[in-house]
């Protein structure tokens, strides 16, 4: 009787594990931890890279801060694409990323997006104070670079104090965009890479309103395949990869 329960569980385990091993257990994709603003571009670049090199890539998306924390605690990432420099620099300083591999690969752009179907258009930050905009989404400034830039932009436009009670924070910039897409908020401050969705209308923000969003990447030192990681890192900024990045609103960085 208890034997049957155990047998049933055993069967479940076997049925779960056998196909799993054969389909993905030995697939051994390169594991890339990527800031969530990169998702639309990397969804295209991943398969393109696999076609070119035969090397599959799997992506784990999140806010740069939480991904950095996971890598620090030993998560099995080969490569880390952050949405800003500070997390990459601090991981490299502590020997977790290979310092020589780190580079600024792109500059991100912040935009102000609204839902096309709502009929609300917002051209500048002070227009967020209009009564039809009851809630505005942005990423959490504590650990998401686009959140930090959004807060800086609101502060330098002098509307942060008034806006703060109406701000809804996403764990990362992708979640902030999701709040807008589901109609939970009327406007969102997101990366230009996430505002290309046809359901959204967006207005660019003056980059001078916040510190530049310099997106940096680096290879994890404990990676067992640094050369594959290097290849993907190079691929993103290569003649094949960069046009895709550009299409999703990334700009070539003007530093170093």
């Amino acid at each position: 009787m208890l034997g049957r329960v155990v047998a049933a569980c055993g069967l479940l385990v076997l049925s779960g594990s056998v196909p799993h091993e054969s389909t993905s257990g030995r697939r051994d994709g390169l594991v890339v931890f990527a800031a969530s603003d990169l998702q639309p571009a990397f969804t295209e670049l991943g398969p393109a890279f696999e076609q070119l090199t035969g090397q599959p890539v799997v992506f784990s998306y999140g806010s740069s801060g939480s991904l950095a924390a996971q890598i620090e605690l030993g998560a099995p990432a080969d490569l880390f694409f952050s949405a800003d420099e500070s997390y990459v620099r601090s991981l490299a300083q502590r020997g977790i990323l290979d310092r020589a591999s780190t580079r600024v690969y792109a500059e991100g752009r912040l935009v102000l997006a609204t839902l096309r179907s709502s009929g609300i258009t917002v051209a500048s930050l002070d227009q967020l104070l209009r009564p039809e905009v009851t809630r505005v989404a942005m990423a959490n400034p504590e650990h998401a670079p686009y959140g930090r830039a959004a807060r800086q932009a609101l502060v330098s436009s002098g509307v942060w104090e008034t806006m703060a009670p109406r701000v809804v924070m996403g764990e990362n910039v992708r979640q902030a965009a999701q709040y807008l897409l589901t109609g939970a908020v009327e406007a969102a401050l997101v990366s230009s890479s996430l505002a290309l969705d046809t359901a959204l209308v967006s207005a660019p923000l003056d980059p001078a309103l916040h510190q530049p969003i310099l997106q940096a990447a680096g290879i994890v030192r404990s990676s067992s395949r640094p050369s594959d990681a290097q290849r993907f890192l190079d691929f993103v900024t290569s003649d094949v990869g960069w046009p895709v990045m550009e299409r999703f609103g990334f700009v070539r960085p003007h530093v170093r």
Partner: protein, 222 residues
């Protein structure tokens, strides 16, 4: 049946993770439930509360402290890593997370099953010459069966649905630690609603089927 090209790897991973965690819950939880259901001893209330703690604490809190323990820099993880065994950010970590999240549900239900067993029936078996071990296997366990079966089903369903502890302990790595709930979360965030709907429906179907089977099973006399 499902969205075009739906990735079934999260479903297979979930089956394995929930299956193993339920197996662990049943094997470790049955003796514990028997102890809690049949005996009064010092520290019993404390033990009961410790078992229930993961059910009442926010999963992120539980997940955070489990991660602190089992990550390579944690006291447990350090020892395991030295032995070449990683828990954090692996599928084994997902099993641990699912087990922690569901163990209390199994014990609670099985304990209620043991509490309902009439001690005079066990005494009758003893007068007929059964050993203590024989009494447990031939009288106590069969009579507590319903609680154990219900607990097994509940624990399995809770393990399938485990999200918060898993996200902290195992991360969200497709093909490695991305179970169904994490894949749904990822699909929603990436605005892939068809995938999210298909995976949700699949989960709903499996879980409802299992609960129905468990109800039927529990009614059958063994």
């Amino acid at each position: 049946m499902f969205a075009e090209g739906l990735d079934l790897v999260p479903a297979l991973l979930s089956a394995r993770v929930a299956g193993l965690s339920t197996l662990a819950a049943v094997t470790l939880g049955t003796p514990l439930a028997w102890l809690l259901g049949r005996y009064r001893f010092t520290g019993r209330a404390l033990l009961e509360n410790v078992v229930l703690l993961p059910l009442v604490l926010p999963p992120t809190v539980v997940g955070y402290y489990v991660l602190v323990l089992v990550s390579r820099r944690g006291p447990v993880g350090e020892v395991l890593a030295a032995a070449g065994f990683d828990l954090a950010f692996t599928w084994r970590g997902a099993v641990l997370a699912a087990w922690i999240g569901s163990f209390g549900l199994f014990v609670r239900s099985a304990q209620a099953g043991f509490e309902l067993v009439d001690p005079t029936l066990e005494d009758a078996a003893r007068t007929l010459g059964r050993s203590e071990w024989g009494v447990f296997w031939s009288v106590t366990l069969p009579l507590a069966w319903r609680g154990i079966a219900a607990g097994t089903a509940l624990a399995f369903c809770r393990a399938v649905g485990e999200f918060g502890i898993t996200l902290m302990v195992a991360g969200n790595i497709p093909g490695r630690t991305q179970t169904i709930p994490l894949a749904i979360y990822d699909a929603v965030q990436g605005n892939r609603m068809a995938d999210a709907n298909a995976l949700s429906l699949l989960t709903l179907a499996v879980v409802v089927l299992l609960l129905l089977l468990a109800r039927r099973g529990a009614r059958v006399r063994f």
